[in-house]
């Protein structure tokens, strides 16, 4: 049995708990346990808080890593944002003794210490590396043949690649391979690796700019003929799901494009219902997708 400390962040537990339950229950089938990191806080959002005050961002991130390290396990995140913050903080602190001491000096006042001996991982790595596409393929109960999926990798898991070291940030493959493992087809679309618009504090400050990003991505996906979008990041997930509702409100434009976190797609492939996947709680219903899956069955 393998164990990870799970870093929840904000959006998963406070907006999309379905992603958490789905991921946890699937991992159980592969004998992987997730231990809570009690008292964790906001990661804090890499592009946002580091833009305000790098030191505060770093200190909070370091605290989260520190209490994660106490579990003695590697730390797994489910959001590119959380991954971005924790991985970058880990990188900066392990590479700079002076900085590490400075931050630990602060942390010591609240009784914890950053050691830098835990790996920061992303849920996508657990699936594509620990488990592997092959096992996922075998795991499928009703493969999602005929479903056209558009993947969205997001930014902070891949980039900067010189720090994150997950290979090419221009034409990544692993998420598409995971999607194909479910039997679905992963189709290409314009500006596939483009940002969803959520990050860098833009959403809070200039929502119209953010939604303009989101809109462009959605349009490209629709015109490519995608049945749904599959992401690996809670922030992007929120952006595409909640964003569609906001776009409808502000621009009267409706896309009705189901948004799935990659574990939710896998969940569909093993016949989990949309309620237990948490899809019913999302802004954009997944009916169209489920109809296509069921219709295909008949």
């Amino acid at each position: 049995m393998k164990e990870y400390a799970i870093f929840l962040g904000c959006i998963i537990p406070n907006r999309y708990p379905g992603i958490e339950t789905t991921s946890t229950s699937i991992l159980k089938d592969f004998d992987i346990e997730l231990l809570p990191i009690n008292g964790a806080s906001c990661c804090p959002a890499p592009g946002v808080f580091s833009s305000f005050h790098l030191e505060s961002w770093l200190a909070i991130a370091a605290r989260n890593i520190a209490i994660g390290e106490e579990t003695g396990r590697d730390i797994v995140t489910m959001c590119n944002g959380c991954y971005g913050s924790l991985a970058e903080a880990n990188h900066l602190l392990n590479g700079n003794k002076e900085l590490k001491d400075k931050i630990n000096d602060i942390l010591s006042k609240v009784g914890c210490e950053f050691k830098g001996n835990s790996k920061i991982k992303h849920m996508i790595e657990v699936f594509s590396e620990d488990i592997g596409v092959k096992k996922i393929q075998e795991y499928m109960k009703n493969p999602l043949d005929g479903i056209k999926v558009c993947t969205h990798y997001g930014c902070h898991f891949l980039k900067p690649s010189e720090i994150k070291k997950h290979g090419s940030s221009e034409r990544p493959k692993f998420l598409d391979e995971l999607v194909r493992a479910t039997g679905a087809e992963s189709i290409d679309y314009k500006d596939k690796t483009m940002c969803c618009g959520f990050g860098g504090g833009v959403r809070a400050r200039d929502i119209d700019v953010t939604l303009d990003f989101t809109r462009e991505k959605l349009k490209n996906i629709i015109s490519a003929g995608g049945d749904c979008i599959v992401d690996q990041c809670a922030s992007c997930h929120l952006e595409f799901d909640r964003g569609q509702a906001e776009i409808k409100k502000i621009y009267g434009e409706e896309f009705r494009l189901p948004v799935l976190y990659f574990t939710q797609l896998i969940g569909l492939g093993i016949g989990m219902g949309q309620k237990e996947l948490g899809l019913t709680f999302q802004n954009i219903p997944a009916e169209s997708l489920l109809d296509k899956i069921n219709g295909r069955k008949k």
């Binding site: 959006i11 592009g47 946002v48 900067p160 990003f213």
Partner: protein, 193 residues
């Protein structure tokens, strides 16, 4: 902006701006990361790669040009500076290895110090002071969690008040409260300083 009529007097620019930039970011990123802005050849690869500049007035290239020449006020005072979503596409492609996104974040830190922090951003920050979360829980999701068989509240600062207190303490120690203008008495944002 040191402009007289239609002339920019280079003499009037703040030639020390680069050094201020280096000073503000050195401890976190190291000097080289900040100095890399001097290697910019204005090829525009950053801006051409930038999804924001396809729809806004944000021009990474322009910001770096202004930074290296010393247009301090116009760089730090500009709203455009805040239209970067930190997607790192320019960072990946810059042929001169300019650490674009890091430099932009340091410039933003400097802007914040100068009082250019949007109310919306102060609000976001205040949530963390109050709850430890940038996106705190709400009633509806608490119900959803229970329906999904989870605890009402996640095992985060939401469930552990002492953890929240240590987050607050950390932010006090780093001086974030002063930067954002957070009032510990009222546990609310102070009016603009």
């Amino acid at each position: 902006m040191p402009v007289t009529k239609n002339i920019i007097r280079i003499n009037d620019l703040n030639s020390g701006f680069i050094e201020e930039l280096v000073e503000s970011g050195r401890k976190i990123f190291g000097e080289d990361v900040l100095r890399s802005v001097e290697a910019c050849i204005q090829c525009g690869c950053c801006t051409g790669s930038c999804p924001s500049s396809r729809r806004t007035a944000f021009r990474t290239r322009k910001i770096f040009r202004e930074t290296s020449l010393g247009f301090k006020e116009s760089v730090l005072g500009s709203d455009d500076l805040w239209l970067c979503t930190t997607c790192y596409t320019c960072y990946e492609r810059c042929p001169r290895g300019v650490k674009t996104t890091d430099i932009i974040r340091v410039l933003r830190n400097m802007a914040v110090r100068q009082g250019y922090m949007a109310e919306a951003h102060r609000m976001t920050a205040s949530y963390v002071f109050k709850t430890g979360h940038g996106v705190p829980i709400n009633e509806e999701v608490q119900r959803q969690r229970v329906e999904l068989g989870l605890n009402r509240l996640p095992p985060t600062t939401h469930s552990f008040p002492e953890a929240l207190r240590s987050v607050q303490e950390v932010l006090r120690l780093t001086g974030f409260d002063e930067i954002v203008g957070f009032d510990w008495e009222t546990m609310e944002l102070r009016g603009r300083k």
